[in-house]
Amino acid sequence: MPTTDAAAVVRARPTFWRNFWTNAILAPRTTLGFMRIDFVLGTIFIIPLMQILFFALTVQLGNGGASGIAFVAVGNAVATVTYPSIFSVCQTTDSEKEQGTMEHLLVSPAPRFPMYVGRGLIPILISLATVTVGLIYTVAFFGVQVAAGSIPFLAISVILSAFAMVGFGLLLGGIALYLRSSIVLGNIFLFIGLIVSGVNFPVSALPVPVQVIGYVFPLTWGLAAVRASISGDSLGAVAPLWLWIALTGAVAVGLAMALWRNFERRAFSTGSIVRF
């Protein structure tokens, strides 16, 4: 009966997984960055090599020696996760605003959690690929030695870091709802990460207040776990770092959800959804 069909349509809500997969597959494809596979490949293969090379040669200029080069090589290999995790997730927000689809998204009845988290799936996969390729470069060209036995711990560290960083990207994407553009935020955290997360010099060498800021970022814990895994540290030493990655990542996702809700309301009240 037509009435029943209509009622079914009215009651219909996408299920969690349907919502998740729709956003996971479709949302990244609506942004420019994912429209061409060659640019995705460029992010995975070229950016890590050039970023590592740049800092390694800078260390060579500063007479940092082989250990210094290996240190920045690993740091920057992991730091390249920022591009796919933070920038691409933030860009989905910008892209929705620019294309005028954000308002339609926000008035849809779809539950927000799978909608936002689903958007992180492809960036997580690209983040994993980028960091893996970066670490392969460090071994192949920058004198980093990874024992075969360290690889499982290293893999767990990288996977957890990718998840946590994408969670952090979602958090920034939430803030970007209220701002005109999220690229600014992405840039700020990319730069700050270079200092406070132990990418180019140990966190312990930083002033204590800066160290505290550093430990808020999942990247700092991720990097510590990767370094510990490469050094062949025991499970007892690495596991707490994994917990910290998971914790900072989970807090980021939780905050992201809260912020998305809050900023949804604020963006509606200020009308900033349609500003870009």
Partner: protein, 270 residues
């Protein structure tokens, strides 16, 4: 009254000035850009200082030049191309190209504005590095240093013009620029001498005017500097020549790119 009359003569100077003005107005309207343009130089300064600390008595010059170049790249090059990318997003690229002013003068205006903000970034880097080290950099010839620093900006701007044409050419230019950002830092030797790189990469580096200008700048300010074997004089000649080629090319490239986008009809894509 709207009686049509003779078309007005377009003044290239006024068009460029209008573009500078628009850039300032847009910047003021969206001051969040102030944050990365202030934060980036500070961070680059700190990182560069720490990494080149052991490079000898002139490490401060290396740190200032390297971090300065990185932040100026962001402002001068990226900013100029980005503005054209924004024109695509706003849908203003079409009306701007439909105006009788050649688009290259609009780009020139943006670059002038970005050069100014790039210099502010350079000054911030200088202040950060000096504050961190607690000493002024030992520069062999301060006047030459400043003059060459400004000259490097001109060479960066010449690359910026070509890059902006790329943004008119394709909406994907921003991604290509992101992918190539560190490659440009490496290739032009903004932090370390290009001779650190394998010899076979040098011809690629020498295609970029800033490579010559930066080498000349280091020759002029760091006694005993080991850069390209031909030394300061030929570096300056190379920088002037490549910059001139870029500026001439810019005119041709813009003309060709404008024609191309009219052929393929991608002006409204974003």
């Amino acid at each position: 009254m709207n009686a049509p009359g003779h078309p007005f003569a377009v003044s290239r100077f006024r068009s460029t000035a209008a573009s500078v003005r628009l850039s300032v107005l847009q910047f003021v309207a969206d001051p969040q850009w102030l944050i990365p343009s202030m934060i980036a130089p500070v961070i680059f300064g700190i990182v560069a200082y720490q990494l080149v600390l052991g490079s000898g008595p002139y490490f401060l010059v290396y740190a200032i030049l390297g971090a300065g170049m990185m932040s100026m790249w962001g402002q001068t090059l990226y900013g100029s191309g980005w503005a054209t990318g924004q024109d695509r997003v706003f849908g203003t690229l079409e009306p701007t190209l439909q105006a009788p002013t050649p688009y290259v003068y609009v780009v020139l205006g943006r670059i002038l504005w970005n050069v100014v903000s790039g210099l502010v970034g350079g000054a911030i880097v200088y202040a950060v590095v000096v504050a961190e080290s607690g000493q002024l950099p030992a520069v062999a010839n301060p006047v030459l240093f400043v003059a060459m620093f400004l000259f490097v900006m001109v060479t960066l701007a010449s690359v910026g013009v070509i890059l902006s044409a790329f943004y008119v050419y394709t909406r994907f230019a921003g991604f290509i620029q992101n992918i190539g950002e560190f490659a440009f830092y490496v290739g032009t030797g903004c932090m370390f001498p290009v001779i650190f790189l394998p010899w076979w990469t040098n011809p690629i580096s020498l295609v970029f005017p800033p490579t010559w200008a930066l080498d000349a700048l280091r020759y002029g300010s760091i006694p005993g500097y080991q850069g390209f074997a031909w030394g300061f004089g030929w570096d300056v000649v190379g920088a002037v020549a490549t910059t001139a080629v870029y500026l001439v090319l810019a005119g041709l490239v813009f003309h060709r790119v404008e024609r191309h986008v009219l052929e393929v009809g991608t002006l409204a894509d974003y």
